[in-house]
């Protein structure tokens, strides 16, 4: 049975990364199994391997600095964002996984420390709880005393000053007027 052309196309797309050792073990196995019984893909694989070996055999040459500078300049102008290569595709999930693991580890560590500290803290004795209860009562009573004092000030100072005293003055004035008019017949006639 001859391999299906679409499978060959898919495998041939993997040949270069396979030769470069960039594939996962599963993908590499797939390439090996397919090329074992597909002569066309096996030939492609051999070609890739030969080219790679030829390239590796070439002497390393440094590009002239001026050319390098121009290439860098043009690359920056053309590619405004970093190129995502196949090699880096695994980094994103790995980074996310690492971050999650780190966060989880941090929380566990803190919880653990809290637990240890909680265990180390001496459990309060009934006397200490009783003393703390008195302290809590004291605090509430103090709040009540201060607020009552403020309320008493309102009652003792504000009410007499603004309500009781004016009312008393009005009453006193009116009584005085009545008394005066009662003692003075002229004023009584005039009124």
């Amino acid at each position: 049975m001859s391999p299906q052309p679409e499978i060959c196309t898919a495998i041939q797309a993997l040949l270069e990364p396979y030769v470069d050792g960039e594939l996962s073990p599963e993908e590499s196995l797939k390439v090996r199994e397919h090329t074992a019984h597909c002569p066309a893909c096996a030939a492609e694989l051999r070609l890739c391997t030969d080219i790679l070996e030829e390239l590796r055999g070439l002497p390393e040459l440094d590009a002239p600095p001026a050319v390098l500078a121009r290439v860098r300049q043009e690359a920056q102008a053309v590619v405004p964002f970093p190129i995502t290569t196949r090699e880096r595709k695994w980094r994103r999930p790995l980074a996310l996984a690492a971050m999650l693991a780190l966060a989880l580890l941090g929380s566990l560590l803190v919880e653990n420390l809290r637990g240890v500290r909680g265990q180390n803290e001496p459990h309060p004795t009934p006397e200490q709880v009783a003393q703390a209860t008195e302290q809590a009562r004291y605090a509430l009573a103090y709040v009540a005393r201060v607020s009552r004092r403020a309320g008493l000030e309102l009652k003792d100072e504000v009410l007499p000053q603004y309500l009781v005293a004016p009312a008393a003055r009005t009453l006193s004035r009116s009584l005085k007027d009545n008394l005066l008019s009662a003692n003075d017949p002229a004023a009584r006639q005039g009124s």
Partner: protein
């Protein structure tokens, strides 16, 4: 994801985790209803005659211990995160300095979204009662009191509070007892509030 940003992201995540953990760990101190005693330094520790610092677990224990005898008190106490009291007699203190420190605390409360429910200045006596609300619920109460010739006090109650309940409970507590239960309190485990 660029290769160079990976370590920064990892460090950032680690920093966030640690910050969140520390924030959660700081408990009552981080609550919006807490007064930062340490930051404001209203009284020097040596000037205090009463210092109370009750927090979380101990308040729960008080709630459990008093549940049968005083259910309302127990309910109120169990809902609190912290009770802090500092009382300093003015006998050996410069009243002007204490008053200035109280003014500083008042300014702090005003600038941090606290609401003054009582501001009273009369014949040298000063009383301030502030509450801190979050979503319509009181989460903190602070009382600042200055009585010339007597004492100055700062009280901070952190946690969910029902003012009516607080008032009811306060009325049931005898004031003479206040004088009786005011010995110098040693800070627990050497800790000082704030």
């Amino acid at each position: 994801m660029p290769r160079r940003s990976l370590p920064f992201l990892l460090i950032f995540t680690l920093a966030l985790t640690v910050a969140a953990a520390l924030r959660a760990d700081s408990g009552a101190e981080a609550s919006p209803g807490a007064l930062p005693f340490g930051e404001l330094e209203i009284f020097a520790p040596k000037d205090l005659t009463t210092e109370i610092n009750l927090e979380g677990a101990l308040l729960k224990l008080i709630g459990n211990a008093t549940g049968e005898d005083s259910p309302e008190f127990a309910k109120l106490i169990s809902g609190l995160q912290a009770i802090r009291v500092q009382v300093a007699p003015l006998k050996n203190l410069d009243p002007g300095k204490v008053r200035a420190k109280l003014d500083q605390a008042v300014h702090w409360l005003d600038s941090r979204g606290w609401t003054a429910i009582v501001r009273s200045r009369d014949k040298g006596e000063e009383t301030y009662i502030y509450t801190r609300e979050i979503k319509g619920q009181i989460v903190g109460l602070t009382v600042l009191s200055f009585e010339p010739g007597k004492e100055a006090a700062v009280i901070n109650i952190v946690g969910h509070l029902d003012p009516a309940q607080l008032g009811r409970l306060g009325r049931t507590m005898n004031l003479p007892q206040l004088e009786k239960v005011a010995p110098k309190e040693k800070p627990r485990d050497g800790k000082r509030p704030g």
